[in-house]
């Protein structure tokens, strides 16, 4: 039986990161893989949002189910995937208020929480980066993790009851920033 869209639900697969900074481009890369690989039913959208800081808030207003794809420093081996849930994300320790901390995501979530508008369903599929330095292109381990994360996002959405179908023939992912790619400098 085909799963049904949760009533009135709006799901967003959100890629965060800077495509000009090596592995930090994981989120945008993974979200574009997701788009190329899956066809989605009503109420599901995907967005490569870059690094919007607190400017992220308008994109999350009205979203009930959120999957974030992003790099995470969790002390895991580089290239390993890391899953964080809503409670964990909100409870991450923060520095003094001078701090942008991780720029934006946590502050955005906390701002929406105060406004009573935080997505009730929220998961972050992350990866421990290998190399975050000027230059376009992911390291091999993070590229592999991005492929896995795109599929993971689809499984999460399906579990929530949204319609997500794997395309028989995937579209070409729009990774425009890797055209004429320049390798990041050696570590």
């Amino acid at each position: 039986m085909a799963p049904e869209r949760p009533e009135g639900g709006a799901a967003l697969v959100l890629g965060l990161g800077n495509v000009l900074m090596g592995d930090d481009g994981f989120g945008p890369y993974a979200v574009r893989l997701f788009e190329s690989r899956y066809e989605t039913g009503p109420g599901v959208s995907a967005l490569d949002a870059g690094t919007p800081g607190l400017d992220l808030t308008p994109y999350l207003l009205g979203v009930s189910h959120l999957v974030v794809l992003d790099t995470v420093r969790a002390g895991a081996p580089p290239g390993e995937r890391v899953l964080l849930d809503r409670e964990r994300l909100l409870a991450l320790p923060r520095g003094p208020r001078v701090n942008p901390h991780d720029p934006g995501l946590q502050e955005t979530l906390l701002t929406l929480d105060f406004a009573g508008r935080l997505p009730p369903w929220l998961l972050l599929v992350g990866v421990e980066p290998v190399r975050v330095e000027r230059g376009t292109g992911l390291t091999g381990a993070v590229r592999r993790a991005a492929h896995e994360a795109a599929d993971e996002a689809a499984r999460i959405l399906t579990g929530w009851g949204f319609e997500v179908h794997r395309r028989e023939i995937p579209l070409a992912p729009d990774i425009w920033w890797e055209k004429g790619r320049r390798e990041p400098p050696a570590v």
Partner: protein, 565 residues
Amino acid sequence: MARITVDPITRIEGHLRIDVEVDGGVVRDSWSSGQMFRGIEIILKGRDPRDAWLFTQRICGVCTTVHAIASVRAVENALGLEIPLNAQYIRNLLVIAHALHDHIVHFYHLSALDWVDVVEALKADPAKAASLGESLSPWPGNSRRQMEAVKAKLKEFVDRGQLGIFANGYWGHPAMKLPPEVNLLAVAHYLQALDYQQKANKVVAILGAKTPNIQNLAVGGVANAINLDNESALNMTKLFAVKDLLEEVRDFVQQVYLVDVCAVGALYAHWLGYGAGVTNYLAVPDLPLDTKGTQFDLPGGTIFDGNLAGAKAFTSFQDAYFRDNVEESIAHSWYDGDWQRHPWKEETEPKYGDFDPNGKYSWVKAPRFMGRPMQVGPLAQMLVGYATGHELTKKWVDYALNTAGAVAGTKLSPSVLHGTLGRHLARAVRSAVISDLAVKHWGLLAANIGKGDTEIFTPFEFPRGEQQGFGFHEAPRGTLSHWVVIENGKIKNYQAVVPSTWNAGPRDGKGQKGPYEASLLGNPIADPKRPLEVLRTIHSFDPCLACAIHTVDAQGRELSKVRVL
């Protein structure tokens, strides 16, 4: 003598480190340091100039649109292209909507907490807050019922035992002075602002085809096909949606944001003497009204030593006074060498060292105009506009000074604008100005399309040989310029001289401090362990160092620190 290091200080994107020396409760010396290397120039070398804007808008996730605009203008300048009127108007509407979104977020969600004590709002009398709000503005969102609801929400939040987004604030700091009712009004507007920044952002989404990181630009124009009857083109429905959204945002800006800044500023009038620093100002004209870029709706020019009478205007996208007088110094920046050069002649050779307050101490270069440090941002633009008789600017500056003066019970002149509070007030005034212009430029676009003009793009070819170009844009944080050298259709050199470089840059070869550094001198510091006053002055510039990465830190490392030595 105490040495305080605040690292990092930007509330968004990237790392800014500020060091101050404090003696007798006053800042005596200061250093501003960018802690991350950007290097967009290196990424762009050898690429197709038509693609540059796609990459430059990824420099910074907050300032996306502005780098796209400056980039296409730089390439168009190198090729001597004229841009169809529709394209200019569509770009202008994008620029305005982006700036309104940005200014609203900056005040309510990033810097109001430097002045507003959220916890104190719990002591407010909602009825008094409502009558105060209603005495200042016709805004319908200030009713007693609404104030009661916000107070109840805040109480519930605080009773949960965690302050969430408001945790780690300097609550109860001796420098917090607002009455509880003003704090409550500010919290109410903080919540309402979420919806209005979203409305501004929707305009960017409709016209830009996507946001963040718009997709509708092209060197030579825009890619928004205009066909009033076609669903996928820029049509009647979309145009009227844009108009409605812009009008709603205008009302919020003029009836809430500007009024709040006037009131908060007036209640902190004792801060009017702080934070002036560099009183040389630089702004560029923007919102072009013709295809060549020789007439503009926003003023630009220079002011030196705070002398408004000597203001000199920039007059076109080809302006030689601007083109010939911008240089960057690396005397105190982590690059190889010690030169001060024009952007077309620069090289980007990073050479990291330690933080050396007497030597090199920042990744940020030190831009100079005719050899002088310049303050950029809304204050620069409002002062240049005021000095050159720009009518809309005068109208809203005078309105703001009268409103703030009425609350403070004194008469205020434009000279009070030099400083920390003035930067906030100027940003709100600029928002009021451009929200009027939003409606005007919507009308210009609609009228031009109504005449049957659907032109959106000027075709071109790259000539052989070398061309140089520059493109400027008055971005939310101030003057942004991109400089490109093209050789046989490929990028040979590219430099972005960004607003936060002008303001956050270090000393130059002559030892002249940058605007952040200079603005901190003389600031009071009540409690060195909680240097709220440093944050107030730096945040008033709306700092955003263009070097963003995004990594969630799940280990709880202390990522920012205040060190008192």
